[in-house]
């Protein structure tokens, strides 16, 4: 993802050197990335990385200390009304009106949005197996999360901003949410999806933004990340090989012991095969890229990747 101009109509969300400071604490520090229409964008980072702050800035709940953000080309702080008409939002910690039933909550929010058709809300509630007749005070955490998802999706917004939407859901319900989000993206709607679960983002998103300590350390496609991750390669060399062979620059050696060479290959597959053939190995194991290592690397090291 490259930094483009702030007025590209294909960009649903543009964040340009956006910062939010609380005294000396930099919750978000010069974050920059863009999100295109119809994109499923994963927002990754450990707790306290600044994901929720970035989301709250996009929702106009916080005023930025510096920098700029645009949603549909509009300023989230000054033009909330226009933006929120096109956005569905789920906060990280869903809180609802305890005295209302699920259905009363849905109707209140729909009426506040000057809408009256509950059909989509009913469909979503049915998909998520949520009983709308019950009072919210009797809902479990998972049920509140489901109602929050219904409220965010029921008006079929052009942009969904979801802060850890599956945190309190069981795996079955997580799949239902993933299906809804994929369907939304297929219809050309955009989904900004925050999570600290790598597997979740990997299975759902095409693009990813990784935050660490308030800074964007990666804003790229999943494919690019996988390429960066490289393949895990284990090669058992013939007993005659006493020392590690010369290796190309694409191979990062991790271990060589008892004739077993282990490492990571970041180059093209054809070059790997050519090199392996020259080694005449007894056994070769090539594993798919291990994204977890890459993410851990991002979380721990200062390396930044912004495309």
């Amino acid at each position: 993802m490259t930094r483009r101009g702030l007025d590209n109509p294909a960009d649903v969300v543009v964040i340009d050197r956006l910062s939010k400071h609380y005294g000396a604490t930099r919750a978000l520090d010069e974050a920059t990335f863009t999100m295109r229409r119809g994109q499923l964008l994963g927002f990754l980072g450990p707790n306290g990385a600044g994901k929720s702050t970035a989301i709250r800035l996009l929702m106009g709940l916080l005023k930025p200390t510096a920098g700029r953000s645009l949603v549909f080309g509009l300023d989230p702080w000054r033009q909330v009304k226009e933006i929120h008409a096109r956005v569905g939002y789920l906060s990280g910690d869903v809180r609802l009106y305890r005295d209302l039933t699920g259905r009363q909550t849905v109707r209140t929010i729909l009426h506040a949005r000057r809408l009256s058709n509950c059909a989509e809300a009913e469909r979503l509630a049915e998909s998520l197996r949520l009983d709308l007749r019950t009072r919210v005070r009797h809902y479990s955490t998972g049920m509140k999360q489901k109602l929050g998802i219904v409220l965010a999706l029921m008006h079929r917004p052009e942009l969904l901003i979801l802060d850890e939407p599956t945190a309190a859901l069981d795996p079955l319900m997580q799949q239902v949410v993933y299906r809804e989000l994929r369907a939304a993206a297929r219809e050309g709607r955009s989904v900004l999806f925050s999570s600290h679960s790598l597997a979740e983002v990997e299975s759902l998103c095409e693009h990813v933004v990784i935050l660490r300590s308030g800074r964007v350390v990666a804003a790229t496609s999943m494919e690019s990340l996988k390429r960066r991750a490289g393949r895990q390669v284990s090669v058992r060399l013939p007993p005659t090989a006493k020392m590690a062979p010369d290796r190309p620059t694409e191979f990062v050696q991790e271990d060589f012991r008892n004739g077993l060479l282990r490492g990571r290959w970041t180059g093209p597959a054809s070059a790997l095969l050519n090199w392996l053939a020259a080694l005449s190995p007894e056994e070769v194991v090539i594993q798919p890229p291990n994204l977890e290592d890459v993410f851990l690397n991002f979380y721990q090291s200062p390396a930044d990747v912004v495309e």
């Binding site: 709250r56 009304k81 939002y89 906060s91 910690d93 009106y97 209140t108 506040a112 949005r113 409220l151």
Partner: protein, 271 residues
């Protein structure tokens, strides 16, 4: 004003308002019936003692001669601390629940993700005060009227003569409400907002009481809201005191507007 949000607030507040209004109506009935057995002739000598007279003036804002007659006694429930406490408690509870309470509970995020300006959200959730304050004032008036018509005082006073006090009480409650809304909009913790609002109100009450004894307090007494809530003066003049009404209305409008300005410019932190 967003009708759906106003209705939501009304739905949440209905029982509390009903109970407070019932209390505000019941108290004057009981209170005025308790005065049925009051011996005015023998009490007058005691009540005209300088210290007691000052005390009465501190509590009511009027001299004993004005207070202690059968007609003006009907206005006494309107300045009784129980009625003041009921009205203030409701108004402060409502105002702090609407802003600081919503932020503290996290439900404020639902409101602030709606396609509405913050001003509109603010007006929709605090606008209920415009309904609640007259209801509470009318409830006190209804109670006083019932107490008068069913008790021994029915020959000397009637509820209709108290009608202008309702206007004064409504204005006072709206001023308190505006103040509480301002405090609430500045806070993210409801408990803190309640403590702060009650601190201001109790200071106002104390200032009003001290002004009768202490010249220094008298000089700054104009700063207290209760200075402009004078049911006996309304009763004596046979109509609302326009200066009092203007001051209370200005306080209500200025504090409410200031609360809105704060709310539209502030960060909304996570719950």
């Amino acid at each position: 004003m967003n009708v759906a949000l106003f209705q939501k607030t009304a739905y949440e507040q209905r029982w509390l308002l009903l109970m407070t209004a019932a209390g505000s109506a019941a108290f004057p009935i009981i209170f005025l019936h308790a005065f049925d057995a009051f011996d005015f002739a023998h009490a007058e000598a005691f009540l005209n003692l300088p210290f007691v007279n000052t005390l009465i003036r501190a509590l009511t804002g009027s001299n004993v001669s004005e207070v202690l007659n059968r007609q003006s006694l009907a206005a006494f429930p309107f300045i009784h601390p129980v009625i003041l406490a009921l009205g203030w408690t409701y108004v402060v509870a409502m105002a702090t629940r609407s802003l600081a309470g919503e932020i503290e509970n996290g439900t404020g995020e639902i409101l602030l993700s709606l396609p509405l300006t913050r001003w509109r959200i603010y007006a929709s959730v605090t606008g209920w005060l415009v309904v609640a304050c007259p209801v509470l004032a009318c409830a006190t008036w209804c109670g006083a009227t019932i107490g008068l018509t069913t008790g021994e005082l029915r020959d000397t006073a009637n509820g209709w003569s108290l009608r202008y006090i309702v206007v004064n009480e409504t204005a006072m409650l709206l001023a308190v409400g505006g103040l509480a809304v301002l405090v609430s909009s500045l806070s993210v913790r409801r408990g803190r907002a309640i403590a702060c609002a009650f601190g201001i109100l109790l200071s106002s009450f104390l200032l009003n009481v001290l002004a009768a004894f202490w010249p220094v307090a008298e000089r700054v007494a104009f700063a207290g809201i209760l200075r402009y809530y004078r049911p006996y003066v309304v009763l004596r003049e046979g109509g609302p005191n326009m200066t009092d009404l203007v001051v209370l209305s200005v306080v209500a409008i200025v504090t409410w507007t200031a609360g809105g300005i704060v709310f539209t410019r502030r960060d909304i932190p996570a719950a």
